[in-house]
């Protein structure tokens, strides 16, 4: 054998040093970045809340002042009522929708699933505009709300409707996942004991989906608590905490008070996050048991009723979307319905927001590229470089992991004020970022970091843990294996993360509403201005433009993914028969 003759030289000390430097340096950089762009702004927020407007330390005086003001009690109860009602009007319909898709034999499931995801492509403001078109003072369907004894859609009713539309896909996604994991053997056992359908539902289906339901309710509740756009557009005089923050910061330039309200807003979000984390941990235990997946069998009456239901929900979703689109193309709703493009041209120009769409696309593209790269590399460094075994840097891992999950618990508005307080401070050498496109990109990446990080971690965990060990034994530096193996294998997840960042960057307003400058106005934010100026047509046009952009880009991402899989991923389609 030529085995011994083939032995190659061992790598030099220098290349080993480089490898160690890349491995550890990455984690250090990630930890510093998260610290600087997440933890420190939030900490500055806390400090600011203890200072007076002019910057002297006043202890909890701001909190005392705020809690004792009648405005607080009013906003707090309003916020809770809004969030609770939204949860109530979103989760049960979403559950039935997810149930129809996972547990019945209705046709065209893929189509319904995609229709349910439509609201994700739109800013939450779109729904508010649509409901104004539909049920507003000149509303086409105003009589419908009058049946329910309502005089106007402005206020709580409109807010709940618009928020339910915006949060529906998030609830559906969680519930689809929750209903996907069920053990067919449980149903077979129940059938063998002649269990009636309703009892199976109560004793098997509901308990199985319990965690999904709790999780969905918490997500919807948190979204509503921290929502700013919907109450702003359709809330009328109904004041909520998010509006209070906006008024304090943008209206009165009172950052201290804004910080106080922000921290108050943080409380329910953190509680919900804590409950959700605990619930998810328990759900994991359910998942580990290997079970036989449940496959529904046709049942005529049930399938027909569920199909009608799914059709109705889809019709409502399409109607809400279509209303805004339609409104953007007519001259004066509802008096002159002739076609026009004026809202897209003069409408934008008049309000000085004709650069907003371009800004949004640029910002979203940066988030999609940089966000995906940073998130994926960050997750790789934390999961695959053996950092937990390092005696010097091991402690960085839990710290960075915790920070990676933090944005999920932080409402965008809170992050936004944190950024103003931190970056707007004259003492901050990073102050040059204030008012730039970069700060919008940074805050958006941080705002949506957690979900992306989780997606990346899940994808990485599916890889064999020993890839890095094998490449080390073969004297191949880990970063070569990262390029040659890890990235190609995780490509679909990487594209998913990129798409997620793009769409969210197009539609978000909560953090960036405090951070844009006249030069960097974003499309979603300009909807607020257009609506405020009474130019609902142009507002609807901008919302339509955002939906169209998100939809086209999503489609493009799908095509890219498909093309890449066909072109470079032959190995995926060659499973052994």
């Amino acid at each position: 054998m030529s085995a011994v003759a083939q032995r190659g030289p061992l790598p030099r000390r220098l290349s080993l040093l480089t490898e160690a430097l890349v491995a550890r340096g990455g984690v250090v950089l990630l930890a510093i970045a998260l610290f600087l762009f997440l933890t420190v702004p939030l900490a500055s927020l806390l400090v600011r809340s203890l200072e007076s407007r002019s910057g002297e330390f006043v202890g909890v005086a701001n909190f005392v002042a705020y809690f004792s003001s009648p405005a607080f009690a009013n906003s707090a109860t309003n916020t809770l009522a809004f969030a609770a009602l939204t949860t109530l009007f979103t989760v049960p319909p979403a559950f039935l929708f997810a149930y129809a898709i996972q547990r019945s034999c209705i046709p065209l499931k893929g189509l319904w699933r995609n229709i349910a995801m439509i609201p994700i492509l739109a800013p939450s403001l779109l729904a508010a505009l649509s409901f104004i078109y539909l049920f507003g003072n000149q509303g086409w369907l105003k009589f419908v709300i009058e049946w329910f004894g309502l005089k106007t859609v402005y206020g709580l009713p409109g807010m709940v409707m618009a928020m339910s539309f915006a949060s529906f896909p998030h609830a559906v996604m969680i519930l689809l996942a929750g209903l996907a994991l069920s053990d067919a053997r449980l149903y077979e056992a129940a059938d063998s004991m002649a269990t009636p359908g309703w009892r199976k539902f109560l004793t098997i289906t509901l308990p199985g989906a319990r965690y999904g339901l709790i999780s969905a309710a918490l997500v919807v509740f948190t979204m509503a608590v921290s929502e700013f756009g919907v109450p702003k557009v359709i809330g009328g005089n109904y004041s909520v905490l998010a509006i209070d923050i906006y008024k304090q910061v943008v209206g009165q330039q009172n950052f201290s008070m804004g910080a106080v309200v922000g921290l108050v807003l943080l409380a329910p979000a953190v509680v919900a996050f804590a409950i959700d984390t605990a619930v998810r941990r328990r759900q994991k235990a359910l998942l580990t048991a290997r079970s036989v997946p449940y496959a529904p069998r046709p049942e005529r009456l049930r399938d027909l009723l569920l199909l009608l239901y799914v059709l109705a929900i889809s019709a409502v979703l399409l109607l809400v979307l279509g209303m805004a689109v339609f409104g953007s193309f007519v001259k004066v709703w509802p008096y002159n319905l002739s076609f026009t493009l004026n809202h897209y041209t003069y409408g934008f120009e008049e309000a000085g927001v004709d650069n907003a769409w371009g800004n949004s696309v640029v910002m979203a593209a940066w988030c999609a590229l940089a966000g995906a790269a940073v998130t994926f590399a960050g997750a790789y460094w934390l999961e695959k470089t053996g950092i937990e075994k390092s005696r010097v840097f091991g402690w960085l891992r839990p710290l960075a992991q915790m920070q990676a999950m933090m944005p999920m618990a932080v409402p965008g508005m809170v992050l936004g004020i944190g950024y103003i307080v931190f970056f707007n401070s004259p003492a901050n050498p990073l102050g040059f970022l204030y008012g730039t496109m970069a700060i919008l990109v940074l805050s958006t990446i941080v705002h949506f970091y957690s979900s992306s990080h989780l997606t990346a971690v899940t994808a990485l965990k599916q890889l064999d843990n020993e890839f890095e060990s094998v490449s080390a034994s073969l004297k191949v530096p880990f970063y070569k294996t990262f390029w040659r193996v890890t990235v190609p294998v995780c490509l679909p997840s990487l594209i998913d993360i990129s798409r997620y960042y793009f769409v969210n960057a197009m539609t978000t307003i909560s953090a960036v509403v405090f951070l844009y400058s006249p030069k960097t106005t974003l499309a979603a934010i300009s909807i607020l201005h257009l609506d405020e100026a009474g130019n609902v047509g142009a507002a609807a046009a901008m919302a339509t433009l955002i939906v169209a952009t998100s939809a086209v880009v999503t489609a493009v991402f799908f095509v890219i993914e498909w093309w890449l899989v066909v072109r470079t991923q032959a190995w995926r389609r060659t499973a052994r028969r």
Partner: protein, 364 residues
């Protein structure tokens, strides 16, 4: 095989100690492995065998102790600075690379010419009997084939040490047995020093030059397979390697032990009279009536068959031995013996124990 027994030292472990939090995974492990040897680390799960392998590979860092490979202290060297090839239970083949690229993975990095790499890959694929599979992807191969490719990849850079971490555990029984033989043959041919970790004592006995039996983070015994099987030095080894009968007994004199109401003779080993002991005895360490009359043999016993387990070419009968006061024994019968001696439930069977084979351990 005694003739080409290697003499040079390939690897030396000195006082390896590993602690995970408050769990002691390895306690002052000392071991020397000679060049060209195939050594099996065997033990129940959690005994520290995989941790020890990973320390040798540099994938874990020992809390204390030294690893010396080919005379070089590699105790704190990263994996990339050590010289070994490794095969994992999960194969860890790169799914997006062809078999050829998988095998060539470590060669490409050494700046070798394409022709040279191709020749080496072809040679290795031939070596593991998969010459035609170069353009395929891992998912197109069976588990056993994937494991062979993982082996070829580990051998590609001609390492001086081959580490195999439970390489056969994920395979079905037939495939496992076939690969056992193949790996052993390949290892002999290449003469590469090999460490194989397994929880399967049968695998260890059939493949190893030397077996290292581990338990609770310490090495219980090191020896050739037959030596470990015949002369276990601790109750754990006797119990873990092969099947064994354990009888509670009392020492009643030099080399004489009482089980229930019966006195048995075993080798003398200076245990004080009256001490409680355990007697360890393999099911096959008995003499049966088919090889001649049993009368006059020492340790002659008689018992009633309680149950018979048919295991292919042989049977194991559970026998309630007269006078043992409820202690039963597993006794080995070849299929022919079982038929000739009419071993079945309720049958009365006489047999003699081979006292020289009995291992006696004092109770702590």
């Amino acid at each position: 095989m005694q003739l080409n027994k290697p003499t040079a030292e390939a690897l030396r472990l000195e006082g390896i100690h590993k602690v995970f939090g408050s769990f002691v995974a390895l306690q002052s492990v000392d071991l020397t492995i000679e060049r060209g040897e195939l050594v099996c680390f065997v033990g129940p799960s959690g005994c520290g065998k995989t941790t020890l392998l990973r320390i040798i590979a540099g994938l874990e860092t020992q809390t204390r102790g030294r690893v010396i490979q080919d005379g070089r202290d590699v105790s704190s060297a990263p994996p990339a600075a050590r010289d070994y090839g490794i095969v994992f239970q999960s194969y860890a083949l790169f799914p997006n690379l062809t078999i050829r690229d998988n095998v060539a993975y470590g060669l490409v990095n050494r700046r070798r010419g394409r022709a040279e790499i191709d020749a080496r890959v072809a040679e290795l694929l031939k070596l593991v009997g998969l010459a035609d599979s170069g353009p395929k992807y891992p998912a197109q191969l069976s588990g056993g084939q994937q494991q062979r490719i993982a082996l070829a990849r580990a051998l590609a850079t001609a390492p001086s040490l081959l580490l195999l971490d439970e390489p056969l555990s994920a395979l079905d029984a037939k495939e496992r047995e076939r690969l056992r033989g193949e790996i052993r043959l390949l290892q002999r041919r290449l003469g590469v020093t090999t460490i194989l970790v397994t929880h399967d004592q049968e695998e260890a006995l059939s493949m190893a030059d030397r077996v290292v039996v581990m338990n609770h983070g310490v090495i219980e015994q090191v020896g050739a397979p037959l030596e470990v099987y015949e002369r276990p030095t601790s109750p754990f080894v006797a119990d873990f390697i092969g099947k064994v009968n354990v009888l509670s007994a009392t020492c009643v004199g030099d080399g004489r032990y009482r089980v229930g109401r019966v006195e048995l003779a075993a080798g003398a080993n200076g245990i004080a009279q009256g001490r409680p002991v355990r007697l360890y005895l393999r099911p096959e360490d008995r003499v049966l009536a088919d090889s001649g009359p049993l009368e006059g043999r020492p340790n002659l016993l008689q018992g009633t068959v309680r149950s018979v387990d048919f295991l292919g070419t042989y049977c194991l009968a559970t026998i309630d031995v007269d006078g043992f006061d409820g202690q039963s024994m597993l006794v080995y019968f070849s299929l022919n013996q079982a038929l000739e001696l009419e071993v079945r439930e309720g049958a009365r069977i006489p047999f003699a124990l081979r006292g020289e084979r009995v291992r006696v351990f004092q109770l702590p």
